[in-house]
């Protein structure tokens, strides 16, 4: 059984290494979603740039998505290791606020690029985007010009969407339709459902299916075509501009109450609103940076559609009614 004992030793050693003692330098722990921390996300560049200026260690912990980040923080409560949370969006801020786990950032956001002025004591935005239906210009010549046209034209394009029970863009579409149709949302879904090819768990699955030409359009962001233009030099993709306006998503960061690293956390928030961080966002997170002026974005961003009117529910209204709205959606879609 020599090999067995060697393996046990190996396992123990690996465990020790994982739990290894960190350097004496102060560490700022940030909980975020893992497409932020992945090699293709903003994480690696952000870490390098911030560590160069802060004389500290930046520990980015990647969880599944924004919802998981908030749930994780709530589970850990006062014992959390997080000093800062980055990546929850405006549909979750009301619940995050109610958890009592966040503290005032004490900063003011003067020059924001957001369409509305930002007023929030607990959270600061780092980027934002708009949901949109993306299509391939070579395959779909006449995309719908409005959400109503998409919903009501029975011979309209087929679409791929995400599930509002599991996915942020999926919830975004639910709110978008609610915003445009109000009490008639059920009827809208009933009409639309005939042309929904499938409803996937997350964004990746439906976007992957869209690239395999399984449907004419996919629910994504107005900024998605920028990825294809910049990273793949591919001009075929565009987002359809809807005349009612587009539902907005703002991603925010907040300081965790009781953190031992308040000063560092505030320094990070300042850094987040600064040019270094903001310039990393467009081509890694594929969203609009919250502070950087439009003129400083990569040239391809100027070819993206202008969403026109911004649609956004108040976060407390989303928190209060989401469950009921999702249940209504389920009822209509399961028929």
């Amino acid at each position: 059984m020599y090999w067995l004992s060697r393996l046990c030793q190996g396992t123990l050693l690996a465990l020790l290494l994982v739990s290894g003692v960190h350097a004496a330098m102060p560490t700022l722990t940030v909980y975020t979603y893992d497409s932020f921390t992945s090699d293709w996300g903003p994480g690696p560049q952000v870490k390098k740039a911030f560590e160069a200026q802060c004389d500290c260690r930046l520990d980015l912990v990647g969880l599944e998505d924004g919802v998981s980040v908030l749930n994780r923080l709530r589970l850990e409560g006062k014992n959390t290791r997080a000093d800062l949370v980055l990546g929850i969006d405006t549909n979750l801020t009301a619940e995050a606020r109610a958890s009592g786990l966040f503290t005032n950032h004490g900063l003011t956001l003067e020059a924001s690029a957001l369409p509305e002025p930002w007023r929030d004591d607990l959270f600061l935005p780092y980027d934002y985007g708009y949901f949109a239906f993306v299509y391939n210009k070579e395959r779909l010549k006449n995309p719908p010009a409005s959400l109503r046209q998409l919903v009501e034209d029975e011979d309209g394009p087929t679409i791929l969407i995400q599930d509002p029970r599991t996915s942020t863009p999926g919830l975004g579409l639910l709110l978008w339709i609610k915003k445009v149709y109000g009490d008639q949302a059920d009827q809208a879904w009933a009409k639309l459902s005939k042309r929904i090819v499938t409803v996937s768990k997350g964004w990746s699955e439906s976007y992957g299916l869209f690239l395999k030409n399984e449907a004419d359009m996919v629910l994504s962001y107005t900024t998605s075509p920028a990825y294809h233009m910049i990273a793949e030099q591919d001009q075929r993709f565009a987002a359809a501009r809807f005349s009612e306006g587009h539902y907005q998503q703002i991603e925010v960061a907040g300081m965790v109450v009781g953190s031992q690293q308040q000063r560092l956390a505030r320094e990070f928030l300042q850094f987040m609103l600064g040019e270094r961080f903001q310039k990393i966002i467009p081509t890694t997170n594929w969203m609009y940076p919250a502070v950087l002026a439009k003129a400083s974005l990569p040239a391809e961003f100027s070819q993206l559609i202008d969403p026109g009117k911004t649609l956004l529910f108040d976060d407390s209204q989303v928190a209060a009614q989401r469950r009921q709205w999702v249940d209504e959606w389920l009822e209509t879609m399961s028929r």
Binding site: S35, L75, V197, R323, L330
Partner: protein, 521 residues
């Protein structure tokens, strides 16, 4: 209590603790302020009824569509021992199991999607797509698990059948079916559980919320509306459902009346239906190979060099290997102890109890890893630094999920071995290490190899709880695939998926060969 009962009781206790403690932790959490349980009357809602009905229906259909053809295909393989490329084909049949669900969905869509080789258009989405994907996953698994039952039929029986001039039907009725009845119910239960808890496949290919399984409802209750009590209730419901199905499958279960040998030689090849059998093998192989082939073609057209030379990649490979091998070791160890105990019980005529031990080992699969993981987290977070425990937790949960596979592959062989040689061992006073070394190892290394290989491959392809815990540097290949998919890098993800497949194939091959000996399956 004999000496075998104590370690087995320990393992059973550990199983119960690993499954029940997290559930208790979540329930307890539900009573804390800030976690108001939603309306418990969700119970009576039409939604839950529909979910229950659909979960059962799709799992049942998927099981039947996988297992019934698999019996025919396994039989064809068994009766064609000299088939060229047989070993390779059987190894191919181990692959679908390790393909991460989202990658398999893409493979299925490549074959049957609107631009695919066999375009089904929109009719792919719905029960068709679910069945196509589930059969792709489970038919080959069932073939692998059923095949050894033919190999356990003694040569003398085949010869006798030959002399009596039995028709193929009579051979099936009197020779093969009785041998199959020991293993078939367990295999059906296992595949039923795999389909019942299937998630990404059902949600993506199901076409919409009409196709919602219990597993989706459980996941939903641990997300936007974080409701741990609801998650636990649904998880328990799923467990009860499986217990019901398990008790049904046990009705089918029979131990063979005549004890059969382990080391049989291959059955004679004089089969009247040879072309039909070849056709069956060919069809099944094409069915399994098509999605894999489309993945291969996609990956080869992808940015191979870019993905393979990335620095972090090989770290992920090591992490994946470490988790896969450790989980396999734990799972096979625990499974061995349980099965030895069950075999002992069966030997002493207490087969009812033996079945319970077997069942306890198999049923753990249906408690969703997300529930176990979240529950463990709730329990551990206040006590320890969870980040230091990511590996042990991931390995434990994967070992747990692998246990039913160990029970299925190793169980029948171990029981037969025990029944045949127990008295001999007693008279020779052969026990403990010596018994393992001289009796069990030579006779059982083949199923042992298959069990280890299956669990290792399964754990390597599992996204599992890693994503739930999230650490700065524990990326596995599967997590990497999801990260790439989430960053528009779909071609990169295909390449990574191919690497994962090749790695799994390598591990599978070396474990099966290294532990199991001869190349034959």
């Amino acid at each position: 209590m004999n000496t075998r009962a104590i370690p087995a009781a320990l393992i059973l206790g550990l199983l119960a603790a690993i499954v029940l403690a997290p559930l208790a932790g979540l329930l307890n959490l539900g009573s804390m302020p800030g976690y108001e349980t939603g309306d418990l009357r969700f119970w009576q809602s039409g939604y839950i009824r529909r979910v229950l009905y659909f979960s059962l229906w799709q799992a049942l259909l998927s099981t039947l569509c996988s297992v019934l053809p698999a019996i025919l295909v396994a039989r064809a393989f068994a009766l064609q021992p000299g088939l060229p490329l047989r070993a390779l084909l059987l190894r191919l049949f181990a692959l679908p199991l390790v393909v991460p669900a989202v990658v398999a969905v893409m493979g299925v869509v490549s074959v049957y999607g609107s631009d695919g080789w066999i375009p089904l258009g929109r009719s792919l989405y719905g029960m068709n797509g679910i069945l196509l994907a589930h059969v792709f996953f489970n038919l080959p698994l069932a073939v692998r698990l059923l095949l050894p039952h033919w190999q356990a039929i003694p040569l003398a029986h085949w010869q006798l059948a030959e002399q009596l001039g039995m028709s193929a039907w009579h051979r099936w009725r009197y020779l093969e079916w009785p041998a199959l009845r020991e293993g078939l119910p367990g295999v059906m239960l296992l595949i039923f559980m795999l389909c019942l808890t299937s998630f990404a496949v059902v949600l993506t290919l199901g076409g919409g919320p009409k196709s919602t399984t219990l597993e989706v409802a459980i996941y939903q209750s641990l997300r936007f509306d974080f409701d741990p009590v609801r998650a636990v209730i649904l998880a328990l419901l799923q467990l009860v459902l499986c217990l019901l199905v398990a008790s049904l499958t046990l009705k089918l279960h029979r131990l063979p009346e005549v004890e059969i040998t382990i080391d049989s030689t291959a059955p004679p090849t004089t089969s009247a239906f040879k072309p039909l059998q070849l056709m069956l093998i060919l069809l099944a192989s094409i069915y399994v190979a098509m999605p894999l082939l489309s993945m291969l073609l996609d990956a080869l057209a992808g940015p191979l060099a870019v993905v393979l030379v990335r620095g972090g990649l090989w770290r992920s490979v090591l992490n994946t290997l470490f988790i896969g091998l450790s989980a396999a070791l734990c799972s096979v160890g625990a499974g061995w102890i349980l099965l030895r105990y069950a075999a002992d019980l069966a030997q002493r005529g207490r087969s009812g109890r033996a079945r319970l031990v077997d069942l306890a080992g198999s049923i753990v699969y249906v408690v969703p890893p997300l529930v176990i993981g979240t529950g463990m987290f709730v329990l551990m977070a206040p006590q320890v630094d969870v980040f230091a425990w990511v590996y042990p937790i991931v390995i434990t949960v994967n070992a747990l999920m692998g246990l039913p596979f160990v029970i299925r592959t190793l169980g029948p062989a171990l029981r037969q071995n025990n029944a045949r040689y127990h008295l001999l061992c007693q008279s020779l006073a052969l026990s403990g290490w010596n018994r393992f070394r001289y009796l069990e190892w030579p006779l059982l290394r083949r199923p042992l190899g298959l069990a280890t290989a299956l669990v290792a491959a399964l754990a390597m392809g599992d996204l599992g709880v890693i994503a739930l815990f999230g650490t700065p540097d524990t990326a596995t290949l599967t997590l990497l695939i999801y990260q790439q998919l989430g960053a528009y890098l779909i071609p990169h993800a295909t390449v990574t998926a191919l690497l994962l497949l090749v790695l799994c194939l390598g591990v599978f091959w070396s474990l099966e060969r290294g532990i199991g000996g001869r190349a034959d399956a």
